[in-house]
């Protein structure tokens, strides 16, 4: 499963990075790399089994807590 994740992200990088480097679009490359790393780390965490924080639940709890519904 982790192998699949790494392969997938590798393919995505292979598709995008050569083009960006060639065109020398550094801003786009930095943003891409940042998002790519975030995705990679989160996906590997899911693949290993670590539970990620459930964002909608957190938002829900804060709102219902604030307004006391």
């Amino acid at each position: 499963m982790i192998a699949l994740v790494l392969m997938g992200f590798g393919i995505v990088a292979l598709i995008q990075i050569p083009g960006l480097v060639r065109k020398q679009w550094w801003r786009e490359l930095i943003c891409f790399a940042f998002l790519w790393f975030m995705g990679l780390i989160l996906s590997v965490m899911i693949a290993i089994g670590i539970k990620l924080p459930p964002i909608s639940t957190i938002i829900n709890k804060s709102i219902t807590g604030m307004f006391g519904i």
Binding site: R27, L35, L42, I46, P54, N60
Partner: protein, 366 residues
């Protein structure tokens, strides 16, 4: 504005809005809290949605040809504007993940119980990514084909259900206490009508910007009528079961049985969800990547499409701990959480813009 070179016509905009609004509502009917008066809740929600649409189209009318990101930078100044824009982009991104979540929940429950959620989500996301990468024109053209088909299915389903409709199930009218009705209509307004605030990213590309707001209203009205018809028909066929079922359109379609030959039409309802879900997710996806590109002044939004898509899938998978939390969020937290983006940001931006008498020729930056 070199990020997006395409232009869409007003008609395409209306159709796109119909597709977006029908989005996941073809499966999860809005206004469920009102019992058999759900159709009234949807109608009231439509009015509220039209009102909200009037607010945010007024923002675009002030600043022609600019997306909300650019408008924010002009109104609030560069730094504060970009911060508020990032918040708005977060809303679009989160909403995209929510739609993906409801989409895959339905498919995993009813149609593909054994397929892993990740696979379904990735496939859908790849299709949306490819569409978004080609620009808003392509998306508008797709919707011109998909939306009439969906409308045709919804209307013909209603006709096929005529033998099973018992109008007594809709009576007595206004049986539900007014408080509950208003809550349900506000819920119907925030999901799905006012979610069209996402079009603040799209309205800049209409070829006749003065006619933009009326196209939005037309689209909302059309989608609203379809939804009212669907919700009323579901309640008429299913009676009180409609209030406790999660997917009432699907259940109602299962009842269709003409001469033992025309049965199992509910797969068409599932196909409707695929088509409309695709449009809604693509619009939100487009808004997110275009917004990010504008905030960081990219030359093109294409490089970040795939990473953003994968992150959206990840959020869709880890959104909530279980289904019950999702329903709770949809009923309680979401209507309030969404107000800040659907009404808050556009309204405050509009007020400040009017106060500062923007736009001025020559630009006036703080």
């Amino acid at each position: 504005m070199s990020l997006e070179k395409g232009k869409i016509s007003n008609f395409q905009l209306s159709v796109l809005i119909v597709g977006f609004t029908l989005g996941s509502s073809v499966i999860i009917s809005p206004g469920q809290g009102a019992g058999h008066d759900a159709w009234i809740a949807v109608a009231v929600g439509l009015i509220e949605g039209l009102f909200i649409a009037w607010i945010f189209t007024a923002v675009v009318k002030q600043f022609k040809d600019k997306t909300i990101i650019e408008i924010n930078s002009l109104v609030y100044g560069k730094f504060l504007g970009k911060c508020i824009s990032v918040l708005f982009i977060w809303y679009l991104f989160h909403l995209g993940a929510l739609v993906l979540n409801s989409y895959i929940r339905f498919f995993k429950l009813e149609i593909y119980p054994a397929t892993p959620k990740t696979v379904g989500l990735l496939l859908l996301m790849l299709v949306c990514a490819s569409t978004v990468g080609r620009g808003i024109e392509v998306l508008a053209r797709c919707s011109i084909i998909l939306v009439p088909l969906t409308t045709l299915v919804a209307i013909s389903d209603t006709f096929l259900l005529i033998p099973h409709i018992d109008l007594n199930n809709l009576m007595p009218i206004l049986d539900v206490p007014i408080g509950k009705l208003l809550l349900a209509s506000h819920g119907a307004a925030s999901f799905p009508f006012a979610e069209t605030v996402a079009f603040l990213m799209v309205l800049a590309f209409v070829d006749k910007p003065e006619k933009g707001p009326s196209a939005v209203s037309r689209g909302l009205l059309m989608a609203g009528f379809i939804l009212i018809m669907v919700v009323a028909r579901n309640a008429a066929v299913l009676g009180q079961m409609a209030a406790i079922t999660n997917y009432s359109t699907y259940l109602a379609a299962q009842v269709i049985d003409i001469g033992d030959i025309l049965t199992r039409v509910e797969s068409l309802v599932a196909i409707n969800l695929i088509a409309m879900g695709f449009i809604k997710i693509s619009v939100l996806f487009y808004g997110t990547v275009l917004g990010l590109a504008q905030v960081f002044n990219f030359r093109s939004y294409r490089p970040i499409i795939l990473p953003v898509g994968i992150l959206m899938v990840i959020l869709a998978l880890t959104n909530t701990e279980n289904t019950f939390d999702m329903i709770d969020f949809a009923n309680k937290g979401y209507p309030i959480y969404a107000i800040s983006f659907q009404i808050g940001i556009p309204l405050i931006t509009l007020v400040i813009a009017k106060l500062r008498k923007l736009p001025q020729t020559g630009g006036d930056k703080v």
